[in-house]
């Protein structure tokens, strides 16, 4: 059983002050009418427990834009290129939903296996991740179809659960343990743990029953040329919002950005849903239509990643469903995958 502490409401403000001493505090707040993760001002309080933020907090580790290299004006002077130093500021990411935390083990494999990505790795190393058990699953949640759950602590260093008059704080990783050991909190007792267990059970009950997606990679094997991809893409306007809001999508572009006194080589989010994503210099495009791009998005998440690293590229947060401007629902596409007959694929419409 993991170590656990009791955080009564009366100690909450002092605890937040302790977190701020640990590092920059990033937590959900309202900004410009949007519930989202942001860096908190010194006197600002996090707004915990209001459900999922519209966008995932993946930018904390993998920002939408970041300089990788900086260079001076004389662009031909290659020796002048300098590594943009990865952000080494210690930070605390507070109030992460379990589904968002669950995306981190997959992103870790992408960015830190084989070639080590120093930018992502620095932020991972310097960020303490404190998840908050989900108390309000919604109709678009399907974490439980992917083996997750409202109190799943994978990817988090610590897990908070709301209990009567405060929180239960469970330590998950050694980093979480050593941080919590210095916070001067009282150990939780059996009653606190029991309350948390009950809260977790209540949240699980709120989830709509759903068929597990385990093993769907086997089902996808014979469906590469199935008409279902074109059907899924019919309404799609290729805006890419699903990928931007997804906590797991990690495709990026690298571009050089000229500035007044030099320039930067910048990495920015990119998306398989865009026609330009794979187009060759010759004009040839291996994924020539939106059906092929939908197929890539589903195959990457549910077939290629399981084959390569044994993890799905989806945590079931449902953001791609709630943010889609034409109401495309990945669950319906996955249902179509389940129902699909491989022999229909031989007609090959994509």
């Amino acid at each position: 059983m993991p170590e656990a502490y009791h955080l009564p409401s009366g100690q909450y403000d002092a605890w937040l002050a302790t977190l701020r001493r640990h590092g920059r505090l990033i937590a959900p707040v309202m900004r410009e009418g949007e519930y989202r993760f942001d860096v908190l001002a010194d006197d600002e309080l996090p707004m915990l427990g209001r459900g999922l933020t519209r966008r995932s907090p993946k930018w904390v580790f993998f920002p939408q834009h970041e300089a990788m290299l900086r260079f001076r004006r004389q662009a031909d002077d290659y020796a002048s290129a300098e590594v943009a130093q990865p952000n080494n500021t210690p930070q605390v990411l507070l109030g992460v939903a379990p589904c968002d935390a669950a995306s981190l083990p997959m992103l870790d494999r992408i960015f830190m296996d084989n070639y080590h990505d120093p930018y992502y790795a620095a932020r991972r190393r310097n960020t303490l991740v404190i998840a908050l058990a989900c108390a309000r699953p919604t109709s678009t949640c399907f974490c439980h179809a992917l083996g997750g759950g409202p109190a799943d602590a994978a990817g988090a260093d610590l897990l908070l659960t709301v209990i009567d008059g405060g929180y239960l704080l469970e330590t998950i990783t050694p980093a979480g343990q050593s941080a919590a050991a210095g916070w001067g909190l009282d150990p939780a007792d059996g009653d606190h743990r029991e309350q948390a267990t009950r809260a977790h059970a209540v949240a699980v009950e709120k989830l709509k029953p759903i068929e597990s997606l385990a093993g769907i990679e086997a089902k996808l094997e014979g469906l590469f040329n199935h008409p279902l991809w074109r059907e899924a893409a019919e309404k799609c306007i290729a805006c890419g919002t699903c990928t931007y809001n997804c906590p797991e999508c990690h495709c990026f572009d690298i571009r050089d950005l000229p500035l007044a006194d030099g320039g930067e080589r910048v990495r920015g989010w990119d998306a398989c849903m865009y026609a330009q994503f794979t187009v060759h210099a010759s004009g040839h495009n291996p994924r020539p239509d939106q059906g092929a791009r939908w197929r890539q998005r589903i195959m990457h998440k549910f077939s290629y990643l399981p084959a390569n690293i044994g993890l799905y590229g989806c945590v079931g947060c449902g953001r791609c469903i709630t943010s889609c401007p034409v109401r495309l629902d990945i669950r319906q596409v996955l249902d179509a995958v389940r129902r699909a007959l491989p022999e229909e694929a031989s007609r090959g419409t994509v």
Binding site: L69, D76, Y78, A79, A281
Partner: protein
């Protein structure tokens, strides 16, 4: 002091261009011989034929290119660049003495170990001869390790054949067979005339204990594969090198995949046996 390249795979080595050569008559391809600016970088850089690098221009961007020289050529690091986009157009404006960046070597290599003591059949077309040049130089450097070496290389016109002086030198060797061919008769051309698949059929190399490497435009590959099959080659004896759009070159940016294989990490060299198990997404 320059930051250490070893821990940041996105930081290019600083290079200087030693020489720029027009490679073909329509001036669409230039060949660049590069040198490392730091001797430590040169020491650390080890590659095998078939691998590629990202050439990098500050303020413009990066693009991947196969390494056209062999590790058996001391002090030579060569790339041939066809003008076809923003980065390549900027590259074509560079001259000897200019600086450039390089990331790599990236990807896998031709299966030299597998070729040992076997016959090697190399089939190339047009611009896709860069890493094949590196391969041929490496094979000839350790000539005794391999059986018969046959090279069939075709282009539309004599002036579009790359590495003419190498081709002529190989043509005059008695320990290999070098067949140059052009698509149609051409004044002054005394070599073979005919498309690569036809010349292959006519040459009829034996598939026995032979590894075939095929690199060329998609149309050439499409018509060459059935000929190899008719000659008795099995998919696991045939290798090719693929190109897909890529950015990072290190398996992270997510755009060069063919099914679950990444051209930048698992390729660019694939056997036809591997490719036949993957979707045709290239």
């Amino acid at each position: 002091m320059a930051p250490c390249n070893c821990h940041n795979p996105y930081l290019p080595y600083p290079m200087v261009i030693r020489q720029v050569t027009d490679e073909v008559e329509d001036r669409s391809i230039k060949t660049y011989d590069l040198a490392f600016r730091e001797s430590a970088d040169a020491e650390a850089f080890r590659w095998q034929p078939g691998q590629f690098c990202e050439l990098s221009l500050l303020g413009v961007g990066e693009a991947p290119f196969g390494i056209a020289s062999s590790p058996a050529e001391p002090e030579l690091l060569r790339f041939s660049v066809k003008k076809a986009g923003v980065v390549t157009a900027a590259l074509h404006r560079l001259k000897a003495g200019d600086q450039i960046g390089l990331r790599g070597p990236l990807g896998n290599a031709f299966p030299l170990e597998l070729m040992r003591a076997k016959n090697v059949l190399i089939i190339g077309g047009g611009f896709a001869f860069t890493t094949l040049r590196a391969l041929i130089v490496s094979l000839l450097d350790q000539r005794a390790d391999y059986g018969d070496i046959t090279v069939i290389y075709g282009a539309r016109t004599p002036g579009l054949l790359m590495y003419r002086s190498d081709l002529d030198a190989w043509q005059s060797r008695s320990d290999m067979r070098m067949i140059q061919t052009i698509d149609q008769p051409y004044v002054g051309w005394e070599g073979q005339v005919g498309l690569v698949p036809a010349v292959l059929e006519q040459t009829a190399p034996s598939p026995s204990a032979t590894i075939a490497i095929v690199c060329g435009p998609p149309i050439m590959i499409r018509f060459t594969m059935p000929v190899l099959a008719r000659l008795g080659f099995e998919n696991q004896q045939i290798y090719t090198s693929l190109e897909n759009r890529m950015k990072c070159g290190i398996g992270k940016c997510g755009r060069c995949n063919i099914g679950h294989k990444y051209v930048c990490l698992d390729g660019p060299v694939f056997s036809m046996a591997e490719l036949s198990a993957l979707p045709p997404e290239y």
